[in-house]
Point group: C2
Chain length 555, copies 2
Amino acid sequence: MIKQGNHPVRIFALGGLGEIGKNMYVVEVGPEIFVIDAGLKLPEDELLGIDAVIPDITYLEENVARLKGFFLTHGHEDHIGSLSYVLRRINVPIYGTKLTIGLVANLLEDSGVKHLANLQVIDADTILNFEYASVSFFRTTHSIPDSVGVVIHTPDGAIVHTGDFKLDQTPADGVRFDYYKMAKLGKEGVLCLMSDSTNAECPGTTGSESSVGDELCDCIRTAEKRVIVATFSSNIHRIQQVFDAAQKANRKVAIVGNSMKRAIEVSMELGYIDVSEKLIIPISEIDKWDDHRLVILATGVQGEPLEALAKMAVKSHKQTAIKQGDTVIIAATTIPGHEKLVSNTIDLLFRAGANVIYGQRKVHVSGHASQEELKMMLSIMNPRYFIPIQGEYKMQRAHAKLAEATGMNRDHIFLMENGDIFEYKNSRAKIAGKVPAGNVLIDGLGIGDVGNIVLRDRRLLSQDGILIVVVTLSKEKNQIISGPEIISRGFVYVRESEELFGKSNEIVQQIILKCLKDRTIDWSTLKTNIRESLSHFLFEKTKRRPMILPIIMEI
Amino acid sequence: MIKQGNHPVRIFALGGLGEIGKNMYVVEVGPEIFVIDAGLKLPEDELLGIDAVIPDITYLEENVARLKGFFLTHGHEDHIGSLSYVLRRINVPIYGTKLTIGLVANLLEDSGVKHLANLQVIDADTILNFEYASVSFFRTTHSIPDSVGVVIHTPDGAIVHTGDFKLDQTPADGVRFDYYKMAKLGKEGVLCLMSDSTNAECPGTTGSESSVGDELCDCIRTAEKRVIVATFSSNIHRIQQVFDAAQKANRKVAIVGNSMKRAIEVSMELGYIDVSEKLIIPISEIDKWDDHRLVILATGVQGEPLEALAKMAVKSHKQTAIKQGDTVIIAATTIPGHEKLVSNTIDLLFRAGANVIYGQRKVHVSGHASQEELKMMLSIMNPRYFIPIQGEYKMQRAHAKLAEATGMNRDHIFLMENGDIFEYKNSRAKIAGKVPAGNVLIDGLGIGDVGNIVLRDRRLLSQDGILIVVVTLSKEKNQIISGPEIISRGFVYVRESEELFGKSNEIVQQIILKCLKDRTIDWSTLKTNIRESLSHFLFEKTKRRPMILPIIMEI
C-alpha cells in the first residue's frame, strides 16, 4: 500500500521538450523520483564534430539516493540511447519490457557497461510498489513491438506517460492498445497526462502498420530484378513485413548493416520477429541467386538507412552496389534536417540505374499519433492537467490546441520547456522554478567536454580556415632568430597565393621589428597587433576571415 | 533572313541539370552561340565557408568570339546571379525584359561592374536576327513579372526554352501566357523543347498567384496586432499582394531588409509594383503607429526571409523584434535543405509569443508548373526532341516520364547532366561528348580558388579542430632551443586537458630527442613521426582526430 497523504508531485523533462529526441522525463512523488526514458539525439549541423547529444543529468546525480529507477517506454535510441552514458554516473534499476531490455542490453554491451546494469524485465501487467507511489504499465502500439505507457499512481491520481504511440487498430503483430486499462485509468482519475506531440500538426489519423504490408508485398512481387529495402534497424514491424513479403514472393533476404543484423538477432531471439532461418542468406552469397530471387534489407551506420544507400549507389559500399534494374524501396521517415540528404540519395540511386520507390507509394507510415488519435487519447484519459511532450515547440503548441478543442481548460495545459517544473501541491498546479536541463555533447570519448568555445572555434575554422604565424625571438639579443613563418590550412590555395603570403610576411616582420626597436616586447600586445593587422589585410584582399594564430617562441 | 542549310545544332547546360539553381544553357546553331540565363546557387552545407556557386564558363571563354549574347528568362538570382562574375571574363550583350534588366543593373551596380555591361531591354515581341538563327520570346507566368520563354529559330525548327513557369490562368498582374504564340510555335515545328522540371513530381496543377491574395487579405485583416510577412525579395507578386492587403486593412507597411527594399524600388520605378507611396513608412517610424495599423514586410540577407525572422524572434535584429501578439506569415517556399532552419525559426517565433501562419493556410504557392501543366506545355509545343531542365535528377526523370505519357518516343527524350552535349546533325539527334561544366566556388573575393584541398581541410578542422606543435631546433648544436609548444583550437577544453597536453608534449619531445640523437634530422620524416604518434595517442585517449600540424623552426 502506498503512503497516503498530501505529497507534492513534481514533473519535469531533462530532454524531449522543444526538440525531437533525447527523451527523459522525471516524476517526483514526495521524496521518490521516477525517471521515464533516457534517450539521446543526433546533433544538428551547427554542432560541428559532435557525435550525439544527451540530457544533463546533474539533478539526478545530486538526488541519486531518491531515485527509484528508469522506466522505459520502448526500445528506440531516442528513448534508451543515453543509458550507456548515464549508467556510469547513476546506477539504479532499469525497468522495461522484454524487447526493450534486450535492446538495452545490446547497447550496454557495446559500451562495455552491461555488467554495471541492473536490468529488470517487466510486462504490461507488472505493478511495482514503492513507498509513495506505485508504477504500472499499459500496452501501446508504435513502430516497434513491446512498447508501453508508464503510469505512476499517487494518492492524488495517476500520472500517465504515453511514450511514443499511435492508435493502431490493426497492428502488425496483433498486439493492441489496452483500451480497457486506459479507460479505467481515465475513470479512476488521471492527475496529469504527458502525451506524444510528434505528429500533433498532422490532421486525421496516422494509419496502421499493417497498411504497409500489402504495398510492400506488391512492390516486391512485381519487381523484375533485385529489391533493396532501406529502413531503420529499429523499425521491427517494417522488418517483419519485409520478411513476410519476401517469403510470399519466393525471394531470399540478405541483410546489410551491423545494427540491422543485431536488431534482427535480438528480436528473433526474444520472439518479436518470426522468420524461417532458411529465408535469410549471408550477404556474401547473393551472387549465387538470381536477381529476381533476392531482397536486400539495408541500413547504415547508427541504423540510418540513407547513408548505406548512397554508398551503394556510388559503389563505395563494402558489401554490395546498386545494379541497373534494382528496385530500391525507401521505407523510412525522413529525419528532420535530413531532407536534402534524402533527395541527393534518391538522385544518386536513379543515376545508378535503380527504380526508386519513395513518397508516392505507401511503403512507410509514421509511428506517431495524428490529431484525431491524440484527441482520442485525451478523451480516454480525461486528465486534470496536460503536458504535451516529445516534440518541437510548435508541435507541443499544436497539441495544446487539440487539448483545448477537447474541452480542457487552458490553465490546465502546461506548455513547458526542458527543466520547467510542473508542481502539484495543495490541490493546485503551477510552474515552480527550473532544474538544469541543457545539452551534454558527446564527442568521441568526451562527455560534455566540448563547450561553446570549442564549438565556436570549429565554426570559425570551418568557414575560412586558419593561418598560423610562427616566429622565434631572442629577448636577450632583441632580434628575430627564425621566421616569421606563415602556414595556412583551409584558407586559400597556397601555391596560388604567393604574393598574399609574401605581403603578409612583410606585415608581420614590420610589426615585430617595430616592437623590438621600441624594446617594448610584450608578447600579448605583439600577438594582438599581428592578429589585427593581418586580419585587416587579409579581409581586404580576400574578403575572408581565417582564424589567425600568432605563436611566438622565445629563446 | 537567317542562313538556310544544314547547320548542326548543339545544346548543353553549364548549370541547372541535376540541381536547383545555377541555370545556364547553351544553344549553338552552326558557329553561333546563344546563352540562356546565367544563375548562381547557394552552397550546400558540405561546401564549408563558400558563399555561392556559379557555372564553369571555360567553354564560353574559349569560344567568346562566337558568342551572340546572354538571353535572360526572368530576374531571379538562380537565373541572373552569376552575371556579375561572368561579365568580368566575357563581355557580350545581355538581353532581357524591362524588369529583368532592371534587376540585373542593380546587381551589377553592387558589384561595381555595371559600366562594363551592354544591357539590352527586349519585350515579348522583340525578334533578334543573327546570321544562323533568330531569337524571339514569349510571355510566361511565374512568381515574378515580366518573365519570358526564349525561342531560337533554326532552319530545322525552333528550340524552345520555357524558363521558370507555371500556367497561371489568373496571374496577379493580369499578364497571361501567350498561348497563341506558343501554339503557333508548336504548329510550325519545335525541334527541341527545354522545360522546367522543378515540380515534375507534383501531381495536378500548381495554383494561381492570385489564389494567395484573398488568403493574405484575410490573415492581415483578422490579425489583432502587428502582422509580419516574410517572403523572398524576389517574389514581386507576393509583395504586391501584401501591399494590396495592407491597403484594404487600413494598415501601413514598413520594409525590413535591404534586398527587399531595393527590389521594391526597382519594381516601383519600372511600374511592376503599383503602390501609393503614402502606404509605406520607414521602419524607424513604426512606433508612431498602433499595432493593428502595421504590416512589416521582411526579408533577410540575400533575400532569405527566415534569417531575419529568427533574429527578430531572439531580439537580435537591428530594426525590430517580435512582440507578444504579433502575427507572422511565412509566405515562401522552403529551400531544399533548409527544412530544419524553417522549423527552428517557427519554434523561436512561437516562443517569442507570435502567432505563426505557415503551411496550414494557403499564404504561398509555388511558381513552378506541376504535372498537368507540364504535360500541357509538352502538348502545346509538340516537340520533336525534349530535354527536361531545371531540377534535380529525380525531377528531370519524373518530367521525362510525363513526356512519355504524352506520347513522346523514349528515344527522343534526353535525360542529360551538366556538360552533356545534345547534337542534332543530318536529321538525327544524339549525345555527342561533353564540355567542362563543374562548379566554380565563390568565397569572398575568390572565384574558383577554393578547391578540394582547401575544402577537405575545412571539413577536417570543423570536425575535431587542430593541434599545432611548434619547436625551435638548432641543427648546429643538435638540440631543442625552444618548445615543443602545443596549441589547440576546436579540439578540447585546454584547461580541462592538462594531462593530455602534458603527455602529448612528452611524446613529441621523445621523438625529437631520438631524432637528434640519431643525427638523422630529416624534417619531413620528423614531422610525419610526430603527426602519426600524436594522432594515435590522441585518438586512443579521446576518440577524436584533430588535424595535427608540426612546425619546426630551425636556427
